[in-house]
Amino acid sequence: MEENNLETSGERKLNCGEMGKCFQLLESILDGEAMDEGKAVLDEKLAKCQPCFERYHLEQAIKEVLKTKCTKKAVPTELIMNIRSKIEEFK
């Protein structure tokens, strides 16, 4: 994997010394759960660490396609009518 990164890594280091901690933080940031200090760390990680850079962008892409591309089903019109009529019966 590292070999493939050589050309595109620029000044980023190719190994991450604290990968577990970083990946957990990156996921929290993408989920909007990280504190402000976490976001400050993110910029540095993305600029300086190739594994973190790749992981962040992969997770971001997956999150994005899940949100935008997952097939959605239209709510059957009779469902809304059935709910309303059952509620009326209940009243």
Binding site: Q24, E33, I62, K69, V75, I83
Partner: protein
């Protein structure tokens, strides 16, 4: 669901809450139900049962609070208590083992994937959906709640009745499993993965 009655709404207030705070979520509710059951009739029944329960217990809902999370919690509980039970699929797994695995907060964050960003972006909606649908229901659920519906970890913890640490670790495991599925799709479809170079 807490069934402590905090409020005593008038009929008009009940109707207002139902129409303005509950019904706007029916699209998300139906899609969640369908992704749990994979059956249109079961999804309809599940959503209908959820809305009837929501109306019956409306006094335990605080107007203006998070109706969507409240409804999702009812739906999830109905699914577990009623629909999962009647599932035709017999249990094939050791539940103790699964429970330990699902709920362990001790999760390895260092697993890497050779899936490429471009491969992910090129995938079709059906491929993404199929990969998601192939995950076990507890893993599928956390991804639906977080990535499709945008719930926070705290909201997910309440919906699922599990600690936030478990939400975090289960989500991470789910994402690793999903990446593996997507990687298989990418290879089968002839998209690039690093492994093929």
């Amino acid at each position: 669901m807490s069934e402590v009655q905090r409020k005593k709404y008038s009929d008009k207030e009940k109707n207002d809450i139902f129409d303005n705070e509950f019904m706007p979520h029916i699209d998300s509710m139906y899609n969640f139900a369908y992704r749990l059951t994979f059956d249109e009739d079961d999804a309809k029944d599940l959503v209908q049962d959820t809305y009837l329960k929501a109306f019956r217990f409306i006094n335990s809902f605080e107007q203006g609070t998070n109706a969507k999370a409240w409804l999702f919690r009812i739906l999830k509980n109905s699914f577990i208590n009623e629909y999962r039970k009647k599932s035709k699929q017999p249990p094939k797994v050791d539940y103790q083992e699964v429970e330990t695995y699902y709920n362990s907060e001790n999760v390895d964050y260092t697993i890497t994937s050779d899936l490429r960003v471009d491969s992910v972006k090129d995938m079709l909606g059906d491929e993404i959906s199929n990969a998601l649908n192939s995950l076990a229901v507890d893993f599928r659920t956390v991804i639906i709640l977080c990535d499709l519906e945008g719930f926070t970890y705290e909201e997910m913890a309440k919906i699922l009745d599990i600690p936030i640490g478990t939400v975090r670790s289960r989500l991470h495991r789910a994402r690793n499993l999903l990446k593996e599925k997507l990687r298989s799709y990418a290879q089968n479809m002839g998209y690039d993965t690093d492994e093929e170079i």
